[in-house]
């Protein structure tokens, strides 16, 4: 691109400051809207996804339910044969014995798998003085479990990493209800028997399912409380990208003796809602960007029509068609870039203002969802506007390049 085309493009933009400002504003408004809308919806969706998947494994692996077994019972004392099926419920204490092998197999299986946590889960009843509460016992290696769910960070008191046998971390709502404090003792009755545990930590995860009724213990503790020996009930898989869950689950299920449940399949409704939201937001952005493109086209066409004679003179002086094309396309690019940068600034400020306004007005229990502003979004919006502006300006620029000098010079 020649220096002369830059000079001409800049001079033309400067000589019609109002038109230029108008075109840049059209772009600025569209980019501001794109940035703002994306930040808002991105933040909302991120929060919804965090709320949904933050405290749960992305994929849960449990032993495949066995088919009811046909049974023939021969009764030697009589001539009769009992024919029927044996209920699967009878085989209910499903567990995974050789889980160490499966864990290393899984962790090597797929790049999206971040960590596999052998977990023991089962029901229990917590007793404190005269009060009882049904709870879930969740036993896992604290270091591993913490890597996936960050429990340690969310402790209100005590510790989770380094938990010992006979110790438990309780959800804060559960602890509050029962008046349990750090170092207090309580009893848990499981299908196998009763154990006494010490409160080693209290956690506030923000997920009511965990805060309300879970006691986190070590793997070994849970195994002994639930009578599982060395087996586990569940392999909990955390992924690097939550949306890989369906794919990973589908990959595991056919080759391993597990039932693989993906969080996505269990939250279809939510995901469909999010998708509809994304689509409508995308449509709005698409049309706004399109409108900005049309704005550039119409303003630049006016510019070309006002400069027909000038174009003719340039052509007579030996400017080539591509040089003329450059002069006008460059104006579109520059207008879009200026407008895009201003718009990005505007969109970011708008999003931050919106967030602050909500944050200061919020009641303590009203959730303020974050705005999702990232450099990729902002730069992407500016880049998009530059591409659209340049493409849009090609329409008037081609018109300019096609000007026949003798027609415009003659008509004096």
């Amino acid at each position: 691109m020649g220096r002369v085309t830059w000079m001409l493009a800049l001079r033309q933009l400067r000589s019609a400051p109002r038109q230029s400002a108008l075109a840049a504003s059209v772009v600025a408004v569209s980019v501001a809207l794109v940035v703002f809308l994306n930040a808002l919806i991105g933040g909302l969706q991120r929060r919804l996804l965090e709320t949904t998947t933050g405290g749960i494994p992305h994929v849960v692996l449990e032993p495949a339910p066995r088919e009811p077994l046909p049974v023939w019972v021969l009764r030697p004392s009589s001539d009769s044969v009992y024919v029927g099926t044996r209920s699967t419920r009878e085989l209910r204490t499903r567990s995974i014995e050789n889980w160490r092998g499966w864990v290393s197999w899984l962790e090597a299986l797929d790049r999206d798998i971040a960590v596999v946590i052998p977990t023991v889960e089962g029901p229990g009843v917590l007793t404190r003085e005269s009060r009882t509460e049904p709870i879930r016992i969740v036993g896992a290696d604290p270091e591993r479990f913490d890597r996936a769910f960050g429990l340690q960070q969310r402790l209100v008191a005590g510790r989770y990493v380094g938990l010992g046998g006979g110790e438990a971390v309780l959800g804060h709502r559960l602890a509050d209800r029962l008046g349990l404090r750090l170092r207090d003792r309580f009893r848990v009755t499981s299908p196998v028997g009763t154990s006494t545990l010490l409160v080693a930590g209290i956690v506030r995860t923000g997920f009511s399912r965990l805060d309300d009724g879970v006691a986190f213990v070590t793997l070994r503790q849970a195994q002994s409380m639930l009578g599982l020996g060395t087996a586990v009930t569940t392999l909990s898989v955390r992924l690097r990208r939550p949306f890989a869950a369906d794919r990973v689950a589908d990959r595991i299920a056919p080759v391993a003796p597990f039932e693989a449940r993906s969080w996505m399949r269990e939250n279809r409704q939510l995901l469909a809602g999010l998708q509809a939201q994304s689509q409508s937001s995308f449509l709005i952005q698409f049309f706004v960007t399109l409108a900005a493109g049309f704005g550039i086209v119409s303003i630049l066409i006016t510019n070309v029509l006002a400069r027909l004679r000038e174009i003719g003179i340039l052509r007579a002086m030996g400017a080539t068609r591509s040089q003329i094309l450059e002069v006008f396309a460059l104006q579109g690019t520059l207008l879009a870039l200026t407008g895009g940068l201003v718009g990005a600034g505007l969109g970011v400020s708008l999003a931050l203002l919106f967030y602050q306004a909500r944050a200061s007005a919020a009641q303590p229990d009203l959730e303020v969802f974050p705005v999702d502003l990232n450099a990729g979004l902002v730069l992407g919006s500016v880049a998009l506007s530059v591409v659209v502006g340049t493409l849009a300006s090609l329409i008037p620029a081609r018109q300019a390049a096609a000007v026949d000098p003798i027609r415009v010079i003659r008509s004096t």
Partner: protein, 228 residues
């Protein structure tokens, strides 16, 4: 000496609307440094002739040779480059670009070619000085009189060091005094730079001072009158 420009039986038929033969079998040769005046009644084909010579229009038939090269069938792009490198234009209405200063206007033909060398710049600024406009270099054209603007346009036409300058009624918009000044300047620069000029004019006073007068009527070049 070889001709700067040669036309062989050039015809031009306009087909839009009523067909008009604007040029019929025009033969013309211009020598280096020659100053040619083209005269003729309105509608006789003078502008058409200049457009064809200036590679802005194509003849319907016939050949155009510019600097010894047949340019009748060149592509649009090649014609642009030849205009840029070999030709200079002066228009009746000056046609300076309003958003560029005087010096930017005169340097524009060189800029279209690439960057401007220090030598070119000195030469062009010398020309501006010569026509008495050095003081106006950073001024915008709208602040100049018609005569001054046309002198700037003349320097612009010479900026790319062309072999041939084409001027279509360059004094047509000027009062007789400024017209005279512009014409004298053209003639002076023609002698000083040895570039060929073709000037369309209605003014017989200027025509008689040219090296040669070409008379067109109804698209045909008239045989040269024998000067008494």
């Amino acid at each position: 000496m070889e001709s700067v420009l040669q036309l062989d039986r050039v015809c031009k038929l306009y087909t839009e609307g009523v067909p008009v033969w604007a040029l019929r079998d025009v033969d013309l040769a211009v020598r280096p440094g020659e100053f040619v005046a083209v005269v003729g009644p309105s509608g006789s084909g003078k502008t058409t002739l200049l457009n064809i010579i200036g590679l802005l229009d194509r003849p319907t038939s016939g050949r155009v040779l510019l600097a010894g090269r047949d340019v009748s069938n060149l592509s649009e792009n090649a014609r642009s480059l030849l205009r840029r490198d070999l030709l200079g234009f002066v228009f009746q209405n000056y046609y300076l670009l309003p958003e560029l200063t005087v010096v930017e206007n005169v340097l524009l033909p060189l800029r279209l070619r690439g960057s401007v060398s220090a030598r070119d710049r000195t030469r062009v600024e010398g020309l501006l000085d010569r026509v008495g406009l050095a003081a106006y270099a950073r001024v915008f054209p709208s602040q100049l009189s018609g005569g001054q603007q046309q002198r700037v346009a003349l320097i612009r036409a010479l900026a790319n060091d062309p072999t041939l300058v084409l001027a279509d009624e360059p004094t047509g918009n000027l009062d007789s005094q400024s017209g005279r000044a512009v014409f004298d300047l053209m003639r002076e620069l023609n002698r000083a730079t040895a570039k060929s000029f073709i000037m369309v004019t209605h003014d017989e006073r200027f025509a008689t001072q040219a090296d040669r007068v070409v008379r067109i009527e109804d698209g045909r070049i008239q045989p040269e009158a024998v000067t008494p």
